[in-house]
Symmetry: C2
Subunit: 180 residues, 2 copies
């Protein structure tokens, strides 16, 4: 596959990215995750390895980006009519996704990448969208929601025997809404 | 180095473990973490690889055990005279240790091991020691402290740009003490 130049601004860059993402997905279907290399991906995508290093920095960041692209919601967080309802719906979906095999791969890849911060930026973005819907209810800060709701969800998946129970997740959301 | 039989119960097993831990530490000083192998460790410790696999299951679990042994406190959590003070002292030390390079290695090795639960067991043990000192103050459960204090500490180290601020850590401890 080769990349064609485009007259639209960003068009070429977007197609390069799509072609590289497709190459990663194809290779991951054919072989073990740990055996995929940047030169392999570059060859499959029709780009040079330096294109990949320039854009993502390292293989782990690229794998994380591909994994995140699959998980990244294509629409805004669900609107349920209440702040508590919106956060619950988002947090339940997040717990569900992160407990899955692709979710665990995302977390592993993000940690191995040089820029783990971009993962938290996506989460913060979605939570900000929710709290911005309810400005008159003095909603908690996004940081507070990350500490009280996102952190225990992720910590239990990574280190505990079982993920967080839904009841406990709801309780943590209630605590987060009580503060601030 | 060879392992001698001992007449004390558990003595041989403890010496095998010490010799394997020493071999890991020595190899980690000489070479890259990612290049250390079980056969290398076994040769250095004077045991067979199967001794290591039988005891730890995999290399990651052994590396995690060695890293934890270094971090594992040799005494009970500090007694300050108050529940809040004890939890603060413990949590500040935990934040400090986990933000360090050995702390990050522990978290990586524990996640890569087949039994990540043993890490949470050590934490739970220390927190239980603290809450057991103050039975008449209806202390929070250990699980609640792990969700509200340990989880955000670890999450921020693994995924955020900067670790948790001490002020935020204190605030989370206050929230944990208000509940339950």
């Amino acid at each position: 596959m080769t990349i064609k130049e485009s007259s639209r601004p960003g068009g070429r860059s977007a197609r390069v990215q799509e072609s590289i993402h497709n190459a990663v997905r194809a290779l991951l279907e054919e072989q073990e995750r740990s055996s995929v290399t940047v030169p392999q991906i570059a060859a499959r995508a029709g780009v040079t390895p330096s294109t990949i290093y320039r854009r993502w920095g390292d293989l782990a960041a690229l794998l994380a980006d591909v994994a995140l692209a699959r998980l990244r919601p294509e629409s805004d967080p669900l609107e349920t009519g209440s702040l508590r309802g919106d956060i619950r719906a988002w947090a339940e979906q997040y717990l569900d996704e992160m407990s899955s095999e692709p979710g665990r791969n995302v977390m592993r890849d993000v940690q191995a990448s040089a820029t783990p911060g971009f993962c938290i930026a996506i989460i913060a973005d979605q939570l900000q969208t929710i709290v911005d819907r309810f400005p008159d209810q003095s909603p908690p800060t996004v940081d507070h929601l990350i500490n009280l709701v996102v952190s225990p969800t992720v910590f239990r998946i990574l280190f505990a025997v079982a993920p967080l129970e839904i009841e406990e997740l709801h309780r943590l959301i209630d605590i987060a809404l009580k503060q601030d």
